[in-house]
């Protein structure tokens, strides 16, 4: 019996995981969410910015990590627009260009934010680190026009925003190593405040930067989105997703415990 269970077909595990996701999706169950300190730090930082402050959001993710980072982007955008903060959006990756444009437009429409006055979406420029360094001297030298090809000098909001001196916070929503670039080149060189919202895979490697205050806050994957939604009291996809995720986590923990028990029993028998 034990041998049969230890050699279980992996496709049965896949089916169990699929069921653990599909059934709660229909049941619409919700679990309480506790806000972690790194997410609260981003919220507090944005909440304490003066009304005319500017937040630069980098949508550095593609379709493969959309599920984790878009709910986060939507929650922070809602917070910024409701507070009347100005938002500049951009991406360092070609995959993120359309995704950033879509989310910023959707949330602007929902909150009544006006393009060119409350937000500007600059789109994509190749070069990555050169883009970060170029914006330190002049944003217009890197982005001559916005995503819709409108020259920056014709956009009212950008009249007062020339470089990092006029940006109060950079929030990097990332599925790759871009937070390290922002920290290395923008924080170190220009003393720019940086926050990051990243996929679950990356979050562990960024905690050291949080401890040294090179990051003002850090949002971990879908959990970060759910926490931020709780802070702004607007439960959306992040909250719904985390409730479903709790079921899968319970299943995985049960499978890990079962696998270990079975492993030790078998080893004892072999001895």
């Amino acid at each position: 019996m034990l041998e049969r269970l230890m050699n279980i077909d992996r496709r049965i595990i896949f089916i169990l995981v699929a069921l653990a996701v599909i059934i709660p999706t229909f049941l619409k169950v919700s679990f309480p969410i506790t806000v972690s300190e790194p997410t609260r730090q981003i919220y507090t930082h944005i909440d304490e910015l003066p009304p005319d402050a500017t937040v630069l959001m980098a949508f550095n993710y593609g379709p493969s990590s959309l599920a984790e980072l878009e709910p986060m982007a939507a929650a922070v955008l809602r917070h910024c627009f409701k507070r009347g903060l100005r938002v500049i959006g951009l991406t360092l990756f070609p995959d993120g260009a359309t995704l950033g444009d879509e989310v910023i437009k959707d949330i602007a429409e929902e909150t009544g934010a006006v393009n060119g006055e409350d937000y500007v979406y600059l789109g994509y420029r190749p070069g990555r680190i050169q883009v970060l360094l170029g914006m330190g001297s002049s944003i217009e030298s890197v982005f001559e026009s916005d995503y819709a090809d409108k020259p920056l000098r014709e956009i009212p909001m950008m009249n007062a925003i020339k470089n990092y001196d006029h940006i109060d916070l950079v929030l990097d929503l990332a599925s790759s190593s871009s937070p390290a670039w922002w920290i290395t080149y923008t924080n170190t060189r220009y003393n720019q405040q940086i926050a990051a919202g990243v996929t679950g895979v990356m979050v562990s490697e960024l905690y050291p930067y949080l401890q040294t205050k090179q990051l003002v806050g850090l949002m971990p994957g879908l959990l970060g989105a759910a926490e931020y939604e709780k802070l702004i009291n607007a439960p959306e996809k992040g909250t719904a997703g985390m409730s479903v995720q709790s079921f899968v986590h319970l299943l995985i923990v049960a499978l890990v415990i079962f696998g270990n028990i079975a492993f030790f029993i078998r080893r004892r028998k072999e001895q």
Partner: protein, 221 residues
């Protein structure tokens, strides 16, 4: 038309998930389609948002409006074009020059900033809590955290220090380093599981609500 797009997305999602059963032509079709579209999209965007505004437009403006300063753009354009020398075996050596410039500029930019961001500030962050302990600014939990972090840094670095044989005291410290590494890997694994499950949840949500839900709603009866 929107529903047609949803059906295409649903079909491709199911094609990708069919790999969980075993490799099959549907999976390979969706995988190749994804790669082709991604690369094509990336190239077009790089031309539209990089090559045209930063190379072609200034150069053309310099030529048509007779602005000699704009012709300076010819220098980086020429350096960039040198990369294509690789395609002609006889002149492939030319590629060394753009590479030398790229590595030289890249290293010059990276080394001081990376040293500062990833070494000096991290060292500072590890030691500052001890100054705060000395000044009596930290509580018991924070003092414990600072000491634990210090032990973790020393033990983990010792594990990666191969100039001395890992025996005796050094061996003991490196074993403590392994414990810290395992905790780190465990945390990374847990977060990775969370990330992967999030992707599955989003796809299931799409299939259940956007695909099946919208299709049922669009039915005439």
């Amino acid at each position: 038309m929107e529903l047609f797009g949803v059906w295409v997305a649903a079909f491709l999602t199911l094609c990708i998930y069919s790999f969980l059963y075993r490799d099959n032509p549907f999976y390979r079709f969706a995988e190749h389609l994804f790669l082709g579209v991604s690369v094509g999209y990336g190239i077009v965007l790089s031309i539209h948002d990089g090559l045209i505004p930063f190379a072609w437009n200034p150069f053309w403006k310099a030529v048509t409006e007779r602005e000699p300063a704009g012709l300076l753009k010819l220098i980086p354009i020429a350096i960039g074009l040198m990369f294509f020398a690789r395609l002609v075996p006889k002149h492939a050596w030319i590629i060394r020059y753009p590479f030398a410039i790229l590595i030289g500029v890249g290293s010059g930019l990276a080394i001081p900033n990376v040293m500062d961001a990833s070494i000096f500030r991290q060292l500072h962050g590890t030691l500052v809590p001890f100054a705060q302990i000395y000044a009596g600014k930290l509580g018991p939990f924070e003092i414990f955290g600072a000491i634990l972090m210090f032990i973790g840094v020393i033990a983990t670095l010792t594990y990666f220090f191969f100039s001395v044989e890992h025996r005796g005291v050094v061996g003991g410290i490196s074993k403590v380093g392994i414990v810290f590494l395992m905790v780190g890997f465990g945390s990374a694994f847990g977060n990775t599981v969370m990330g992967r499950v999030s992707l599955l949840i989003q796809r299931v949500d799409f299939l259940v609500n956007d695909w099946i839900g919208n299709t049922i709603q669009s039915l005439p009866f």
